[in-house]
Amino acid sequence: MAERQKPLVIGIAGGSGSGKTTVAKAISKRLPADRVLILTEDAYYKDNAGLSMEERKAINYDHPNAYDTDYMVSQLKQLLNGQAIEMPTYNFNTLTRAKDTIHVEPADIIIVEGILVLASEELRQFMDVKLFVDADDDIRFIRRLQRDTQERGRSIDWIIAQYLATVKPSFNQFIEPSKKYADIIIPRGGENDVAIDMVSSKLLSIIRDHKRHERSEATMPAKPNPAK
């Protein structure tokens, strides 16, 4: 039985609207689908089913406390140990954890993507590569405004109020300071083909190494399994 190679964990952080999700998806598309998986921090919002709708709406969703980071870390550990997980899904309309889960098999490349993934020391310790996607504040604001009006049906006044009350302060307090943990900063996020290409090239070379290792293991005589 081929010995499992340790997956490579790549963290991708950045402000809301920076293009980090676009970058994560663009990188993932360039890799063989069965060799990469994306863990989105957004899936791990705490389940606030015990609170009223008013209380749930009042939560600061850009604060580290809004996330069930322990759960995310434990699922990441499972994947690193070669075990599949049932990834939670979040319902942005009811602001609670949804009933459905997504079955995720382990993969050579694990992309951990989210605004606060570099701000969490527990998550950082698993990362082999740390990326921060950077964009001007005004660009990020415009993108968030457009996305929230189109996809989440919110009013402009509500979006601006939330942005000033929680999104921007959280960015300054938690997200921007986490930039210092990045190995590489990617400006202009989703349009930055050169950066996406460079990161993908590195990941592809790791996948090639893993495949090579798997092939050489497969041709070796079977070793007796050590007792676990």
């Binding site: 590569v129 210092k180 990045a182 590489i184 900063i185 400006p187 460079m198």
Partner: protein, 218 residues
């Protein structure tokens, strides 16, 4: 005789003391062969033999005008079209171009390193990959001060005076704004193993692709 096909230029900019030269050399050391070259913008300071030493001491060495950009552009174009060049050599204590030159053969990869390489559009246009090395201002000043005293024989007072009068203002006016042209920003330059590794892998890919193309044509 092998003809260097599709040479690409990788630009590495950043403030003085950011670590851009260090990472350029670390990259070069991964290959250390005739397929990769480093061209330093510093070699292309304009020559002013008509000035006195005192007048030359007053030159703003961080301003785009201090560089013989036309020569740099034409030599880069020569290299990318497969021609060797005679790269100038600059003497820092006297602020003069030396008589000798360095013979540089074309190569698959040319690393162009310097504070203003991303600030000049004609240089940017030649680059396939644009990198900006970002380091805190205080760290950069400490490094610059150490280096200038040790390697360039400048006095401490001259270094600080020059820094406040020209280096820092030029940094904010020309160097820092060029960050927005970068494809990748590398914090801390030398010692950033992840960035070095990723760039090395990319260069290796380019060399391998060039090899495959050459084989097809053979």
């Amino acid at each position: 005789m092998s003809h260097k096909k599709h040479p690409i230029i990788i630009g590495i900019a950043g403030g003085s003391g950011s670590g851009k030269t260090t990472i350029a050399h670390e990259l070069y050391d991964q290959f250390k062969n005739d397929r990769i070259r480093i061209i330093t913008e510093d070699s292309y300071y304009k020559d002013h033999p008509e000035m006195t030493q005192e007048e030359r001491d007053q030159i703003n060495f961080d301003h785009p005008n201090a560089f013989d950009t036309d020569l740099l552009i034409s030599q880069l174009q020569d290299l990318t079209s497969g021609k060797a060049v005679e790269m100038p050599v600059y003497d820092f204590p006297t602020h003069l171009r030396k008589h000798e030159t360095v013979h540089v053969e074309p190569a698959d990869i040319i690393i162009l390193e310097g504070i203003l390489v991303l600030a000049i559009p004609e240089l940017r246009d030649l680059m396939a990959i644009k990198i900006y090395v970002d380091t805190d201002d205080d760290i950069r000043l400490i490094r610059r001060q150490r280096r200038d005293m040790a390697e360039r024989g400048y006095s401490f007072d001259y270094i600080i005076d020059q820094y406040m009068a020209t280096v820092k203002p030029s940094y904010h006016q020309f160097v820092e704004p060029s960050k927005r042209y970068a494809d990748i920003i590398v914090p801390e330059g030398g010692g950033n193993q992840v960035a070095l590794d990723m760039l090395t892998t990319k260069i290796r890919d380019i060399l391998r692709r060039n090899d495959l193309e050459e084989q097809k044509e053979a």
